[in-house]
């Protein structure tokens, strides 16, 4: 195959018009100026961005000012919870008073029941003692009574003959009718007395039975005593429950008071309760060491340079706060501080610095 070295040859381009050349030159110059400026601006932007990223990655003194408002969702939520807690305390206090009154009444009632129980017990013992004494005596008397009655019965049996004698005497005219009536009435009285005596005997037997054995009356008394004991026991249980409830309510009140006391230390409470405008800032846990009461606060231009002191740390709140990192935008955990800020405009800065100027100028 033949090898040929070629020279480049082709038709020359048509010359351009002078006006077009000038237009091209001007456009090119403007483009190049714009390009150089833009590229340097982009370069500066990239370097600044990288520096800011690196700076905030290692900075241990930045804090992010927070402007809290009473109408913030968190503030509203906080105040709502606070109001609910306070209302709960008031409700609990009313409950406690009511429970205390009830407990006092129940104590009184219990005391009266206990007194009644003691009296009943005494009465039972007295009666038992009395029965023990009188029971045997009555039994002896009953035996004697029965003996008397048998004798009376014998006498009454003879009285039938006397009655017949009276009637025969009357018929014989030995006695008057009046005498006869008087004598018959006496006989009848004797029968009546005998009957009374029998009744008394039966009654006496009942009394003896009552005194010497456990009868229905005794059982009724014991039942009443048992009911009394049951009432007291139930009352004890009710009292115990009521006392525990009271203690629990009191503890709950204490807890709510503690919670409210702590809540009153919250920036949200402070922000909504006072008339004075307060300035807060978020401090990530990594920067917590610089957040000490009295530490100076610096606000800087360009987020890090040409800093000036704008205030001091006034108070540190220990409650955890979670916000998005002002630069990286990821979630960061930390705490809140109250700033004494004579320069309120610094509260609107993206970040401030605690303790010292971040770049020493």
């Amino acid at each position: 195959m033949a090898a040929t070295i070629l020279d480049e040859t082709h038709e020359p381009e048509k010359p351009r018009k002078p006006l077009q050349l000038i237009a091209y030159k001007v456009t090119l110059t403007l483009y190049r100026v714009f390009a150089i400026v833009t590229l340097y601006a982009v370069l500066a932007g990239i370097l600044s961005y990288a520096f800011v990223m690196g700076f905030y990655a290692i900075s241990s003194s930045w804090a992010a000012p927070l402007i809290l408002s009473a109408s913030d969702e968190k503030s509203l939520d906080f105040m709502q919870k606070l109001v609910i807690s306070r209302q709960s305390i008031e409700d609990l206090k009313v409950d406690v008073v009511r429970q205390q009154t009830t407990l006092a009444e129940m104590d009184k009632y219990r005391a009266s029941l206990l007194a009644l129980d003691r009296e009943l017990q005494t009465a039972i013992l007295s009666k038992q003692n009395h029965d023990q004494l009188t029971g045997p005596e009555l039994a002896a008397l009953d035996k004697q009574k029965q003996a008397d009655n048998r004798k009376t019965q014998d006498v009454l049996a003879e009285m039938h003959q006397i009655e017949a004698q009276i009637k025969s005497d009357l018929a014989a005219g030995l006695i008057t009718k009046g005498d006869a009536a008087t004598q018959l009435a006496a006989l009848n009285q004797a029968n009546t007395d005998y009957t009374d005596s029998r009744i008394a005997d039966v009654m006496l037997s009942d009394s003896i039975l009552d005194k010497t054995t456990v009868g229905t009356k005794t059982l009724e008394v014991l039942e009443k005593q048992a009911e009394l004991h049951s009432d007291i026991a139930q009352l004890d249980v009710t009292l115990s429950v009521a006392e525990k409830q009271l203690q629990e309510d009191n503890r709950q009140i204490e807890r709510l008071h503690d919670a409210i006391t702590i809540a009153k230390q919250s920036p949200y409470f402070l922000n909504t309760s006072g008339d004075k405008r307060l300035y807060f800032a978020f401090v990530p846990y990594d920067n917590q060491a610089n957040a000490t009461v009295g530490a100076p606060i610096y606000d800087c231009y360009l987020n890090m340079a040409f800093c000036r002191k704008v205030g001091t740390v006034k108070q540190i709140f220990l409650g955890e706060q979670v916000i998005n990192h002002p630069i990286f935008k990821n979630q960061v955990r930390g705490l809140t501080i109250l700033m004494d800020l004579p320069h309120p405009e610094s509260a609107k800065s993206q970040t401030v610095f605690l303790g010292r100027k971040p770049l020493f100028f």
Binding site: M1, L6, D7, E8, T9, L21, Y24, L28, Y31, I327
Partner: protein, 411 residues
């Protein structure tokens, strides 16, 4: 209005980028008939134009691979044109001319360094073949490459045909592994829907075949390309493809026509290459917008959307990265992007291993680094490309071409 327009463009960019890959996959699997009708019996005369600048021995290897083509030797020639390389490239070309005598090799040299596009035009002056194949001097060609390219011209209306560019060094390092996946996805999926409508928007300059009469028609325009008087030497492949379409011809990429290139192994070289590509994409966007009515009447809607939304996607990506870095700088560092990218890497690694064994990636996890690269690419390359339109060097080569002063005629 502006946000709505921005969102609309973002949505369309998403459609173009993501949906096109999916479309490519579906079309590949479902419509094998979209492939072009080839006629291997038609064997036109072919001139392989080989513009070269500072390639050293690589150009010799490239010519050697062409000399082994399965195409009748008497039906093709190689025209190697050196663009005033400052190394020994020209000597290697001459050596190739001496060594591979089985084919016709002509070696030429520009009288001054004028860039790739004009070097191709200069080489064209010495060609008389029916089909012109412009190639990159750093590629190794498959023996069937020329045969596969010419066979596609049997379909009437096809003006330009491209080949599939494979990566010869996929496992050199992380950078080459990433590029392997990107190349594979681009050729095997992204360009398939464009192939279907015979309207590929950019045929790679590594392996670019075009009808002679068409190239001759385009050549004056190609040679006269300038940006406010500064000759434009970059992106001649995209320009040629675009011009082919504008002249009513079809464009097609034949993935059976293979060539292999060693992709950049250094970030700086890759950056320059991508900058050159991005610059040509943005130039093409401005050209498209400047003559949009003509495009609308002449081109397939799919082509217009691709031509507009692909470069706009780069601009939107820049805006998105800036927005992301200013609103949530650590968003890219989360696990989600890594999982997405590694998922993509896993799928493509499997496909590459199955269908293109030579490009098998040993460490697919390397693709995770694409997150950082895509950020850098979106953030730096697009603005730099927009602001360096007045630069016209070869990009990855060492020496910049001489700037032609305004008003100076090319010799």
């Amino acid at each position: 209005m502006a946000p709505i327009l921005l969102w609309l463009i973002m949505f369309l960019c998403l459609v173009i980028s993501v949906v096109k890959y999916l479309m490519g996959l579906i079309l590949r699997l479902s419509f094998p008939g979209i492939k072009i009708r080839k006629d291997y019996t038609w064997q036109p005369t072919v001139s392989v134009l080989l513009p070269c600048y500072n390639e050293g021995r690589t150009v010799y290897n490239s010519i050697e691979s062409i000399s082994k083509c399965n195409y009748p030797n008497e039906r093709f020639e190689v025209i190697a044109q050196d663009d005033c390389s400052v190394d020994d490239s020209h000597e290697w070309m001459l050596k190739a001319q001496r060594d591979f005598t089985n084919i016709s090799i002509r070696v030429g040299r520009n009288s001054f360094n004028c860039g790739k596009a004009r070097t191709v035009c200069n080489a064209l002056q010495h060609s008389s073949a029916e089909i012109i194949i412009s190639i990159d001097s750093d590629c190794i060609f498959h023996p069937d490459a020329i045969r596969e390219l010419t066979a596609c011209f049997a379909e009437p209306g096809i003006g330009s045909v491209g080949g599939r560019v494979g990566v010869s060094n996929p496992n050199d390092n992380v950078i080459t592994a990433i590029q392997t996946v990107v190349y594979y996805a681009a050729f095997e999926l992204y360009k398939i829907p464009e192939n279907m409508t015979r309207s590929v928007c950019c045929i790679s300059g590594c392996l670019f075949a075009i009808r002679r009469e068409l190239l001759l028609e385009i050549e004056p325009t190609l040679r006269a390309r300038h940006w406010f008087g500064i000759p434009v030497n970059q992106g001649e492949d995209r320009f040629l493809t675009h011009q082919t379409l504008m002249r009513g011809y079809g464009t097609y990429i034949n993935n059976d026509a293979l060539c292999w290139t060693a992709v950049p192994t250094k970030l700086s070289v890759l950056f320059n290459q991508q900058l050159r590509w991005r610059s040509s994409i943005l130039r093409d966007l401005f050209y498209t917008l400047r003559s949009l009515p003509t495009h609308v009447f002449k081109l397939h809607p799919n082509t217009i959307f691709t031509m507009i939304l692909t470069p706009l996607g780069a601009v939107i990506a820049l805006l998105m990265v800036i927005t992301m870095l200013s609103t949530n700088p650590l968003a890219w560092a989360g696990p989600e992007p890594l999982v997405v990218y590694l998922g993509i890497a896993a799928a493509f690694t499997w496909a590459i291993k199955k269908y293109s064994v030579k490009e098998t990636i040993e460490h697919p996890l390397a693709f995770g680094a694409y997150i950082a690269w895509s950020l850098a690419s979106s953030l730096f390359i697009t603005p730099l490309a927009l602001l360096t339109f007045d630069s016209g060097d070869w990009g990855t080569r060492a020496k910049a071409p001489e700037e032609v002063p305004i008003g100076r005629n090319n010799p």
